[in-house]
């Protein structure tokens, strides 16, 4: 039971970081990035290969595993996680130069799908890079002797807290306001002298850096990663979490991750299996996810925790507004 709870908690931390990055892009800035899972995978591969390079290189090679074209690039924890986030952001900065050019959200969405398909095909077939469709295995988990550990969970919680601080800090700042304006009326934002491309590109880089970080967190716990773990449909998982929780709301995104990423996905596993239908349980996960997504978009598009309501303008004394205070200073009648 203890190991199961630790497992769920680590999965939640990784999924929450993943979802917060999407909320910044999609919920707050209106960026339709359907290739989002690619950056998660990139972070997982980088962290996984770096971890293998630092500890289990010989063991991995003995099983025929190939990665990084035979280069031995070993990085200890947490440097490998940091490297994953940096490389994820760097890749996003290059990809974003093209994807974020267009003012039309549907063009960016289509290009992100195309990016995913190209990346999936290359990584799956270029075996010396990340061992092709077999993927990486025998990845060591930090602070663990093989079982789920409280030590690694604590590290994941710390990373999640840092990401929450970053997400909330951006959301509640003038940057967050600009992001919401770009989401709602990019043409107006342009007319006020603010570059829509620069705003979207910046958010794209930060958000996908978070995706890569989440991938690194996950792979070091899962100890293995292959293309089957980042199939295109996995994108629905994180979008559902953001939509159910409340797109544009960081608190809603965390709640949505708990309910969808942990609740729905894990809850289905408790259903009694039917031996006559061996793939029933995995299929049911997608059926339930799909139905939940459709239901929320149709009946509760703002999610469980809608984007924050407007903050009241400060009044320093009852009945006396900031304007009255200024006029008082200027000698005018309040």
């Amino acid at each position: 039971m203890e190991y199961y709870i630790i497992t769920l908690a680590i999965i939640f931390c990784s999924d929450a970081v993943f979802a917060l990055g999407l909320n910044l892009q999609y919920g707050l800035c209106g960026i339709m990035n359907f290739g989002y899972i690619f950056f998660y995978a990139l972070g997982a591969y980088v962290a996984g290969a770096a971890a293998l390079g630092s500890q289990h290189t010989a063991l991995a090679h003995s099983t025929g595993e190939q990665f990084l074209f035979g280069l031995n690039v070993g990085l200890p924890y947490p440097v490998n996680v940091l490297a994953a986030a940096v490389i994820g952001s760097a890749a996003a900065s290059l990809v974003g130069l093209t994807l974020m050019r267009s003012l039309r959200a549907d063009f960016a969405a289509l290009m992100s799908v195309a990016l995913f398909l190209v990346a999936y095909g290359v990584i799956g077939n270029l075996t010396p890079l990340f061992n092709g469709y077999l993927g990486l295995s025998l990845i060591p988990t930090p602070l663990s002797s093989g079982e789920p550990s409280w030590g690694y969970l604590a590290c994941c919680v710390i990373i999640l807290i840092l990401v929450v601080v970053i997400a909330v800090g951006i959301t509640t700042s003038p940057m967050g306001r600009r992001m919401r304006a770009v989401r709602d009326r990019p043409d107006v934002v342009q007319s006020l002298g603010k570059s829509v491309f620069r705003t979207r590109w910046t958010v794209f880089v930060v958000g996908n850096g978070m995706a890569a970080l989440a991938g690194a967190m996950a792979v070091l716990f899962l100890t293995g990663f292959s293309p089957s773990a980042w199939a295109f449909a996995e994108t629905l998982n994180v979008y559902t979490a953001v939509i159910v929780g409340g797109s544009g709301s960081n608190l809603g995104t965390l709640l949505g991750t708990l309910l969808v990423g942990v609740g729905v996905v894990q809850g289905v596993l408790f259903l009694p299996p039917d031996n006559s239908v061996p793939y029933l349980i995995p299929s049911l996960q997608w059926v339930v996810l799909g139905l939940v997504t459709i239901a929320f978009i149709a009946f509760r598009p703002k999610g469980l925790v809608p984007e924050r309501p407007p903050r009241r303008v400060m009044v320093d004394r009852p009945g006396r507004s900031i304007v009255a205070r200024i006029q008082g200073k200027l000698g005018a009648r309040p």
């Binding site: 970053i166 306001r177 006020l192 304007v323």
Partner: protein, 267 residues
């Protein structure tokens, strides 16, 4: 309009036609439809220029060419001596060229106050690094900007809606907000596309007073309008467009007696 006519106009109006904004031979087509045809004009610095004409004359298209929303098929646009023809919209706006929109342009997901704060230039909190690591700087900036914005909202009677979402305002209130936001952006050139649409008589007078105040502060204004009474009260120079070209430039009084203008409006 050629240079001789521009200098003549300068003597006539007593104003300095410094040519802060100039369009030279601009044309714009949409498929087979010519919206603007070989249009050349100079807009007087610190003056309010009104552009009128029948529907389909190319007025709004000319404004969009100047603001950069559409690119000309031919010709050039100059602003303070620089060729801005290929400048993107946000660079023109950052250089002081601010426009309003024919249809509503409030940002519905932001409050009224936030709509104004968005227009402030140079906010240190509008980047992730600034947002996270320069909190003190942008907090002070926002405090000052909020005080100025609230005073402006008080002036135009929208103070009580400061915390309301902009999408909840009436049509006329949205128009007032849009103009207030344009003013907050500290423009040196203001492009106004039918600002009086959907505005009550009282609000109209408020807007006229605001534009006049801007002109007195040295802001160059170009206003596209159908309401000739507004043009007469507000504008130093009147330009009439028809079928994509300029057919008259001068005072309101001269416009009324111009045969070409009569033909354009009455057919």
């Amino acid at each position: 309009m050629n240079d001789r006519a521009a200098r003549s106009k300068a003597r006539q109006t007593g104003a300095e036609l410094a040519g802060a904004l100039e369009v030279a031979g601009v044309s714009r087509q949409y498929g087979g439809v010519v919206a603007v045809s070989n249009c050349s004009m100079r807009f007087g610095d610190g003056l309010i220029t009104g552009i009128v004409g029948p529907n389909g004359a190319g007025k709004s298209t000319l404004l969009r060419l100047i603001s950069g929303d559409v690119a000309p098929n031919q010709g050039q646009i100059f602003w303070r001596g620089r060729d801005i023809t290929k400048w993107p919209v946000h660079e023109r706006a950052a250089a002081g060229m601010v426009r309003t929109f024919q249809l509503g342009s409030e940002i519905p997901g932001l409050t009224v106050l936030e709509n104004l704060l968005l227009a402030c230039q140079g906010n240190p909190g509008e980047s992730p690094i600034g947002a996270l690591f320069r909190r003190g700087a942008w907090t002070a900036f926002e405090r000052e900007a909020t005080e100025r914005a609230l005073i402006l909202l008080e002036t135009i009677g929208l103070r009580k809606y400061a915390s309301s979402f902009a999408g909840s305002l009436s049509g006329g209130e949205k128009r007032l907000l849009e103009v207030a936001r344009a003013m907050t952006a500290q423009p040196s050139l203001l492009l106004l596309d039918e600002p009086m649409v959907g505005v009550s008589f009282v609000m109209r007078e408020t807007l006229i007073a605001m534009f006049s105040q801007l002109r007195d502060q040295g802001v160059t204004c170009v206003i596209v309008e159908h309401a000739l009474d507004v043009i007469e009260k507000l504008c130093d120079v009147v330009v009439v467009m028809a079928e994509g070209g300029v057919i008259f430039e001068g005072t309101m009084a001269d416009m009324r007696s111009h045969q070409g203008v009569r033909d354009a409006y009455l057919g």
